[in-house]
Amino acid sequence: MHIVCCIKQVPDTTQVKIDPVTNTLIRAGVASITNPYDLVGVEAAIKLKEKYGGKVSVITMGIPAAKVQLRECLSLGATQAVLISDRFLAGADTLATSLTLSSAILKLHADDPVQIVICGKQAIDGDTAQVGPGIATRLGFTQLTYVSEIISLDKEKGLITVRREIEGGSQVVEAKLPVLLTVELELGAPRYASLPGLVRAIREKIETWTAKEIETPPEIVGLKGSPTSVRTIFAPPPRKGGPVFESSSGLEKAVDSLLNELFEKESLLVQEIIKVDGKVEHAKEQ
């Protein structure tokens, strides 16, 4: 059983602070972490490896510093880690990223056939949830997204059964391998690394592949291979405070004035919210 996990180095968005004056993001000093969803996927892969044997390969596309994240996965028990790093790969959008990662998976596949690919549901910096389905489509693997539980794996028959979260509930699905799973946090928190695991993670050699090694021509990856481009980034406009009604000058009057303003100025919103039949203007006549 060969399982490949795709991980991403992301800024820890929970540490982000906002500059109160400019209303922009203070990014300096924000640590990089492994995308939490991806780490849950790595944990699931290692559990499968422990139960059914085989190996877990962890890959990431990123800058050389992303080796830190790969070593973290090695410390948890991943078999091998590969960094895909090349200046031609920089600036990739989701289409170019899925091409790069699927090319790397094909290279691993040629060496030892891959049965399961696991990706986090989404990354916490971009939140797109597009790369996983993109890789599955390129590899021709069956995609099972939003997986919250791996129920069973039948190695002999090549079948996997999982629970997926869907709108308004969940679904138990059985699919033939090879599959690509995108996983939810509910799948289970990653373990703590053991001391031998940490030692191994430091010693293990991490291979680095360039665009040439995964056979992707520079014009179809990275910035050049990305159909989308960022035109502008901006902070959401700061909110300005509106009228303040003081209850110290009469509670009933304050509440009444607020509701009057609300029903007058925000009549569309009020209508939508309380599903009122008829015109809100009538409120004034009452």
Binding site: T14, R231, I273
Partner: protein, 422 residues
Amino acid sequence: MPKNSKGREVAEIIRKKCSGCHACIGECPVDAIDIVDSVVFIEPEKCIGCGKCVPVCPTDSILFNKPLKKVSEAVPTKSTSGISEYKGVAVYIEARGNVAADVSWELVGKARELAAKLDTQVYGFVLGQNVANIAHEAVYYGCDKVYLMESPLLQTYFSRVYGKALTQLTNEVKPGIMLVGATSLGRDLASVVATHLKTGLTADCTGLDIDPNEKLLLMTRPTFGGNIMATILCRNHRPQMSTVRPKVMRMPSRDLTRKGEIIEVKFNGKVEEVPRIIETITLDPSSIIDITHSPVLVVIGKGACDSRDFSMFEELAGLLNGTIACSRPLVEAGILPYARQVGQTGKTVAPKLYIGIGVSGAVQHLVGMQSSEKVIAINADRNAAMVKVADYSLVGEYQKVVPELIRGLKARTANFQFQGAK
């Protein structure tokens, strides 16, 4: 203009503007650019001052004054000649049994606005089995043409087969823009189709508009945990694809007098192996706490964390068809579950109406709710940060204010005939 020790004029990053997109890293011929603390850093001793990084920066964050030769824009090499063939604004209409998901109609409403700016038509793409009635509905909601693809192979949704079907339809109809509802199904499907078509896809847009000069789709979305907004373009590939979350766009009216054309299209797909659905568990909608999709939130803060008052908050939420949410201290105190927490470490919400009761308005909370349409603050402290950003504020003890608010709301709504929830 900074110079390095060799006296060479070098490029420098404006750290506050850098979006950390890595675009410049790929351009640098001498590997002088790296990421430090999530922001790009240009090593001055390595930089040769060629200026190649400047034109690719989407946010103009690179300081470099040397006059540049006009560099042709780094765009994919795919031919752009066929782009003019792609016209119209298409919406994928998500069928659930024989009704459509509401988000599909919300997108048809948005598509009408976009189509008006482009002077073009709105297409509805309806896929499934026995879904012809949805095609008629699509006309009533605003589609000029509805392409209906019915096949037994499309009885149940599977990403691969639906991906092929929608790709086929898109290749035949050639819409300039395609919008898909960002449901769990829609997010999968849009990504599969964009990968097949090798076009750009922008997820979870909160704003869609047309650039008046270039006639390109401007796709605006929150990124970086909702802390910044990015406007994305798909310049040289068609269709320009975007997914939009439910309840972001306004529901258009259903007009039975609208006329439109329904065109049946045959699916060329073959029978193939699909996953087997063993069991589907549908939860009672009332048992699902989802504060991100509720149009009205009554948010409880530290200043109102007495659980004896909760019946009062629930009554207020009930009157407004809203949901109870909270700030972090209530979760830490074990009063409400994490699923209800708004803020940086909780959920990012953007309801139509946010009512904060005793919420002080710490920055970490504000970033999680600043995209709310209208904000009402109920707070004992006139100087609370929340009062400064709220559209309307009521200063007073919440134990007195909330019952009075409930009474006032009841008096006003009692005069109206309720349609009742559908």
